[in-house]
Point group: C2
Chain length 161, copies 2
């Protein structure tokens, strides 16, 4: 069982960077993934729709990659806050990362139906670059393992578009 | 300019394996990606919707990963047909692959608006395992590079679900 509580990192993305189809709180057509700390791990939860299918009975790999993608950028931002000893809601710069490289290893089929749990660990923070290792768990079983290198965007990135 | 013509490999997936959210011809809620030969390369084309956004003005990385995912499994199937000297429509086994490992390198932002072109090459066919290298091109510029290892599923995989 998870004890994660508190705000999601996506709730603090700057407004002009909060339109992501996966995790932007302002994108009403999107998934609105939310990522929170649970101790030293980051957690994102999502329940797929019945049509998010690969082979019948299993979750579409592209959706799993999408989950990992947004979970990783969010974990990267969370890692940057923590490296500064800050909470998401503390005054100062709001962190926002984009993905550099994403590697997804589909270990076994992911059952379609139950809530998916993505759990991540911050492997390294190197200035603007954060390395995140994640796994997708469903029904207590790890079905997907992933690594991502994410990069913090400059503070004015995407502003004025 | 592309000269690709002819049928898409997804049009020949067995019916019980044609429900993928990305590329299943029977999934009316999905993207219905189609992949064809163009000489020695495989090609998949897709025009994102305005809400498929990452940072405003750019395409959502999860959608790009989804495109690569289905393009790679389709390319793997196409590669298996070609290794046998067969057209998709020839009598005999219909090939269908799933993804083992997917690596996506986001080289630069992908502009949201124009049609995306995914182009792939078959790097190796080793029995049921096919390695595919792909790139996403928009407006003549490569924005994403990717590698995938895909695996042919057994002929009765997913049947009866």
């Amino acid at each position: 069982m998870s004890e994660e509580t508190g705000p999601a990192v996506q709730d603090f993305y700057p407004e002009h960077l909060a339109w992501c189809y996966g995790c932007g709180r302002l994108n009403e057509s999107g998934y609105q993934f939310k990522t929170r700390w649970d101790g030293d791990e980051t957690v994102t939860r999502f329940t797929p729709a019945p049509y998010h299918t690969a082979v019948p009975g299993t979750v579409y790999g592209g959706l799993l990659a999408s989950l990992i993608d947004c979970h990783s950028t969010a974990s990267g931002a969370a890692g940057l806050y923590r490296a500064e000893g800050r909470e998401f809601s503390d005054p100062g710069r709001a962190h926002r990362c984009v993905t550099g490289t994403l590697t997804v290893r589909y270990r076994r089929p992911t059952a379609l139906g139950p809530e998916l749990e993505v759990r991540g660990r911050i492997i390294a923070v190197d200035r603007r670059k954060v390395t995140v290792a994640s796994r997708i768990v469903v029904g207590g079983e790890v079905t997907v393992e992933a690594d991502a290198v994410v990069i913090e965007v400059p503070e004015d990135f995407g502003a004025g578009r």
